[in-house]
Subunit: 401 residues, 2 copies
Amino acid sequence: MSLIVQKFGGTSVANAERVMNVAKIVTDTYAAGNDVIVVVSAQGDFTDVLVEKQQEINPQASKREQDMLLAAGEQISIALLAMAIEKLGYHATSLLGWQAGFDTSSAHTAARIKRVNPARIQDAIDRRNIVIVAGFQGVNRRGDITTLGRGGSDTSAVAIAAAMHADLCQIYTDVEGVFTADPRKVENTKKLAEISYDEMLELATLGAQVLHNRSVEMAKKYNIELEVLSSLTKAPGTIVKEKTKMEKMLISGVAKDTEVARISVMGVPNIPGIAFKLFSRLAKKGINVDIILQSQGHDGKKDISFTVARSHGKTAVEVLKDYVLSQGASEILLDDHVAKISIVGAGMESHSGVASTMFEALFDAQINIQMISTSEIKISVLINEDDADQAVRAIHRKFFD
Amino acid sequence: MSLIVQKFGGTSVANAERVMNVAKIVTDTYAAGNDVIVVVSAQGDFTDVLVEKQQEINPQASKREQDMLLAAGEQISIALLAMAIEKLGYHATSLLGWQAGFDTSSAHTAARIKRVNPARIQDAIDRRNIVIVAGFQGVNRRGDITTLGRGGSDTSAVAIAAAMHADLCQIYTDVEGVFTADPRKVENTKKLAEISYDEMLELATLGAQVLHNRSVEMAKKYNIELEVLSSLTKAPGTIVKEKTKMEKMLISGVAKDTEVARISVMGVPNIPGIAFKLFSRLAKKGINVDIILQSQGHDGKKDISFTVARSHGKTAVEVLKDYVLSQGASEILLDDHVAKISIVGAGMESHSGVASTMFEALFDAQINIQMISTSEIKISVLINEDDADQAVRAIHRKFFD
């Protein structure tokens, strides 16, 4: 007998039929002899309904009240799923974040889980109940409702799996697992049977959107085995764990990220400290910089280019403009029509030639590379956004066909 | 400076515009120098939306999960009202039942308030916040969410008023106060400036539907002054308190109750104990009997008629049929086409002739009286349901024109 945590996203419980489908998956797992803890998100677009209600009344409402409002979404879905499980003849206990022992920081709308005290979960498990826990939410030390922000429900599931020493944490979603590229855009993609935490982290960062980084980081920290799979098909998903058997596989995926913009500061005087001051100004505003490219410089001048999140593009230019011009730079340019294409794979550490294969694929497709960035298990290139889908297809074909 | 509790029902917060209207009432009261605690119900028909969601999945769901589901309704409305108050530039703190200290029994869907621990309410008041409390809900000793059943939000408001020693508890609703009869059905009705707890209790029982009895009983017990008023007009409402200045007024209202059925057991042997055994059988099934009429008996036989809630009519006949027939009764009849018309007034204790004035009004209107019941401050008659509205108008005209 195993203890299995199963997490279902909003799409999986969007309506009565879907809720019954989830109840079937859960009770089948239980009937096979396992203890089951289920973590659920709010139904389908119900969070949007709540946000719309807020927008009509006060778009600038305090974050404490935003959390109070949004947390109602999971309350509805856990109750409905518990009812569906009862309908199938099993005992179920739904628990809100505070009931399930989710103590969080007080950072409303983006709280961090400080600890999970699973006493009530354990009590219900001991009574042979299927436990349904509201994802995405907790309570701070004052007893205020908090929410965990983006990827919160996945993180809730992994935190419970860690606190309860679960044997497996299954993340049910609307895709069948982790693929070598986006199956909607690229032909002949392959579902990965296994992937390592680090590779999954790189893919998540790169916009693969299957699992949120916070949950993967926590799973890595507590060594929780994850499985990403679909609630609508019976197919096995992708296992995410520390060591995989797939190390012979050179790369595990090709990802595209269009939420990126390039900023170029032209003609900066080639004196020490300029780049440091420039990036520290951005850091103070909470703007993260990703790829950085600095020209060699000539005539005592150099160009500095870097990428930021597209949503930060205009702000970054505003923050820097007066400073760089006062330092003698000729101009500052924003290009928010770029895309970052990356390949990820633990195998590239021990194999040379991966980068050149990638560049060859882009050259064959006549796609110009603007910037390059590499890490131990990742190679990213910045290209024109119009070429992005073609680039992913060309690289995927080169490595996987 | 006073401490005022204001309760708003679902209609008063049905949409964004209504929520803003409530926020205006609340902040005006606060700006006048009062501390304000607000109790809110779920928005408009949102409870129906939740019940529908349940019906699609499992109409026989456990009551614990029903409470979990329904309690989400007030969570949404308290957050929205707090946001609306923030929009107007004031500080607000919304609190769920468990946060506001509502300890209840474990009778899910019909829990009783055991105590209110208002520590968090007091803390927010001390910080000069307007406090918004979710009505209708609490938490049992296990930490499970409970709901209070019908009239729950009114009861929540009165319980907070009692626990916080409030100076006044205002119940905002969609009528302007307590009237001498239903203004939609009867001409020339008058809004009462004041009414006593006992009169209000009788009117509530009789279907006047302005306040639920539980809340009035609690207000009486703790001597909380209530005001019933409309959230849509600025007019003063009706004050409900122990002693009123209106004692010269003979009767305070005429009420109609059509949720009633008459059962007649014909030809029962005139031996001791029959009536006792009959009513104890009903009591065991939780069926309350209201008006009872027993004929004098002749030939060793008598007839027993009584009224029950209409929803219990068929069950009551089933419970009794075999027993009364085995005891020699000739037949048992159900008439669910009756109505109970009542006049209520503390003044009738010290005035004779009230009953005869009522009967004269019915005689003038050619309406037949089937049964009569009286208490110190109430006279009720049972008549054919078809005559009910005409009877109310005739009686109201006689006493108030």
